[in-house]
């Protein structure tokens, strides 16, 4: 490789390098430093000890996991059969895709406002349920756990679905044909051909969706009970930073969030390896 080539490559790398340094590496190291120091700038683990010794803070991990894990699993479980059904394209696919992209573009605040009216005690949903005599008093779906969960699924499902659909559409349809000629029925084809090839996409969608759900903030505030059952971890970080003005503590909370997300992703990867030990080897070469 010539000298000019190396210079060209370095020049092309420059924007990415600046982007990463200023918007990720520097803030991250800055936050890490904050979380590991006290007001005077001395190294300490006090911030982390303080977080875990106060149940009001420590419990936010469980509260967030209790919302984020079911929201992620439900989104994935709804998206899998739908994406599987639509893998070769269906009539009106563009319309369906548009419907699915809308919630992403609307943003979580807009969705929350809509849900508050639609699913509130006097909303259409409860009126309909009561009219149909499915229930005799309004079902409480806002300002509690369920409100946040539903909001997360509404926002996360389209994202997960589109990722899964993109991934499964990339699987050669001839593989299904080949399998079926070899004696595989639909069930065999799904478990022995589609799923192993789809799994990298599923784990990726699951990990990204989990990170989205674990960092939930607006929905938890607007649709939940931010001072109690839906006091998620990001609310704790927010309060440390902007109510108590302790950036050392809020940085520690942010680092803890990152660690929990990392652990979840590692567990997902581990399960995937265990499920199809042999199959993932195909990734090499």
């Amino acid at each position: 490789m010539g000298r000019r080539n190396i210079i060209t490559i370095l020049l092309f790398l420059l924007p990415a390098f600046f982007y990463l340094s200023f918007l990720f590496i520097y803030p991250f190291l800055y936050g890490l430093n904050l979380s590991l120091t006290d007001e005077k700038g001395n190294f300490t683990l006090e911030n982390f000890i303080r977080f875990f010794s106060d149940p009001w803070d420590a419990n936010t991990i469980w509260i967030t996991l209790k919302i984020a894990i079911p929201a992620t699993l439900l989104s994935i479980l709804i998206a899998i059969p739908l994406a599987y059904y639509m893998r070769h394209g269906v009539r009106g696919e563009k319309f369906v895709t548009l419907l699915l992209i809308l919630p992403i573009t609307l943003g979580s605040v807009f969705i929350a406002e809509g849900m508050l009216t639609y699913m509130g005690p006097n909303g259409w949903l409860n009126k309909l349920l009561m009219f149909l005599r499915i229930t005799d008093k309004p079902v409480k779906l806002t300002h509690n756990y369920w409100g946040v969960l539903i909001a997360l699924i509404i926002q996360g499902f389209p994202f997960v679905f589109l990722m899964l659909l993109g991934y499964i559409s990339g699987i050669d349809p001839n593989l299904e044909k080949a399998a079926s000629v070899l004696g595989a029925n639909r069930w065999h084809i799904f478990w022995k051909v589609i799923l192993p090839l789809w799994l990298p996409g599923i784990t990726m969608a699951m990990s990204l969706n989990f990170v989205m759900n674990f960092t939930v903030f607006p929905s938890a505030v607007l649709l939940g009970q931010p001072s109690g059952p839906t006091r998620v971890i990001s609310i704790s970080a927010f309060q440390w930073a902007f109510e108590k003005f302790n950036f050392h503590m809020s940085s520690a909370v942010a680092i803890i969030m990152g660690i929990v997300e990392l652990i979840f992703i590692l567990i997902v990867m581990f399960i995937r390896q265990g499920l199809y030990r042999g199959s993932t080897v195909a990734g090499k070469g």
């Binding site: 000629v181 070899l182 004696g183 192993p196 090839l197 195909a282």
Partner: protein, 368 residues
């Protein structure tokens, strides 16, 4: 399990939307036969193959193996219960499985004991000379090797019928010829009934017991390679099998029932018809259909002959190793393609005398 007398396809129709892609396809294939569906892209040949496999339901007609109905619009045997084998153009190997597991895929579904599966897989891989690659993954193999794995995956099931969908089209020229030989040898050895789809006339001629030529969903001709090559049934088949000179002509008169006198512009030609064509050409003449003649480039002779002499000016020359391809133009602008030995030295611009042996001229109507 392989025992049957014939595979019978009757009146097969298939539509994609409003477009009829297969139109009244009839074919009976005997056990052990190697039949090729030959046609350009869009001729419906792959669709027919998919219908036979059961991957695409038919819209009319029926498919039978002896008395067993596979598909007649009402009864439909799904592909996994037909015990056919299929090989695809893009190999369609399972990328997440090793060569062994790819070949064993169908056997495992049959719930055969492990040692028997292993034995059969190794036998099949030996047959395609790949036993040393048994633990590799498809992406570690070359295209030719991948296609041989696909072939092994197919024959290991001992299918009643093998369906091959342009299996050599993705391979480079040398490998294609090598694989063609291996396919032929495999068929000679195993005698599995085979239906082969291709757009390559060389492959069709080299491999087949019988060829079915398709165009726009319709069968144009069914015959042995020799029949198809020497006596094409119509202008389309002639053109597809190398009769590249096609000219619109006028028939001036018949002499006897086999000698036809023709005007190609102001050139007078004489054609002597083969037995098979005499009724056909008489019909064109008497019903005032538009006649065409076709001649293979390699059948045109250089120099002065006993009849059908033409003078051309050489326009373009292509050197093709074994032979040269000459494009000539007559004084009134008719293009003639001539194929001759490579040692003939002519230059563009040369005026050359050529002649066409009268028994080498085929006469067709443009309407069928």
């Amino acid at each position: 399990m392989r025992e049957f007398n014939e595979l019978r396809i009757t009146g097969l129709n298939k539509y994609y939307g409003n477009k009829k892609v297969v139109d009244n396809f009839n074919l009976t294939i005997k056990n052990g036969e190697f039949v090729t569906l030959l046609g350009p892209s869009g001729s419906g040949k792959s669709t027919v193959l998919n219908c036979i496999a059961g991957l695409v339901p038919i819209d009319g007609g029926s498919i039978y193996i002896d008395d067993e109905c596979l598909d007649d619009g009402k009864k439909f045997v799904p592909p996994e219960r037909r015990n056919f084998g299929m090989v695809f153009q893009n190999y369609a190997l399972f990328p997440h499985l090793s060569v062994f597991d790819n070949v064993a895929f169908g056997l495992k579904l049959r719930k055969l004991p492990k040692d028997i599966v292993k034995e059969k897989v190794i036998d099949a891989l030996k047959m395609v000379h790949l036993e040393e690659h048994i633990n590799k993954y498809p992406r570690q193999l070359s295209g030719g090797e991948q296609q041989r794995v696909a072939l092994a995956r197919c024959i290991v099931m001992e299918p009643r019928v093998m369906l091959l969908d342009e299996p050599l089209s993705n391979l480079d020229a040398l490998l294609r010829i090598e694989m063609r030989y291996e396919l032929k040898a495999l068929h000679e050895r195993l005698k599995i009934t085979t239906i082969y789809v291709t757009h390559d006339q060389q492959e069709a001629l080299a491999l087949s017991d019988r060829i079915v030529v398709l165009n726009k969903g319709k069968i144009q001709q069914i015959g042995t390679p020799e029949e198809i090559y020497s006596y094409p049934a119509n202008l389309f088949v002639a053109n597809f099998l190398g009769f590249r000179n096609i000219w619109e002509v006028k028939i001036s008169r018949f002499e006897g029932d086999r000698e036809v006198h023709i005007n190609l512009g102001n050139i007078n030609l004489k054609a002597i018809l083969h037995e098979k064509y005499k009724v056909h050409v008489r019909n064109i003449f008497e019903n005032n259909k538009k006649p065409y003649i076709s001649v293979r480039p390699e059948d045109i002779e250089l120099g002065e002959g006993p009849e059908n002499n033409i003078e051309v000016k050489i326009d373009v020359i292509e050197y093709l190793g074994q032979h040269k391809q000459f494009w000539g133009i007559t004084s009134d602008g008719i293009n003639i393609e001539i194929s001759k030995d490579a040692d003939i030295s002519l230059k563009p611009g040369d005026n050359v005398k050529i002649w066409i042996p009268p028994e080498r001229i085929l006469v067709f109507s443009g309407e069928d």
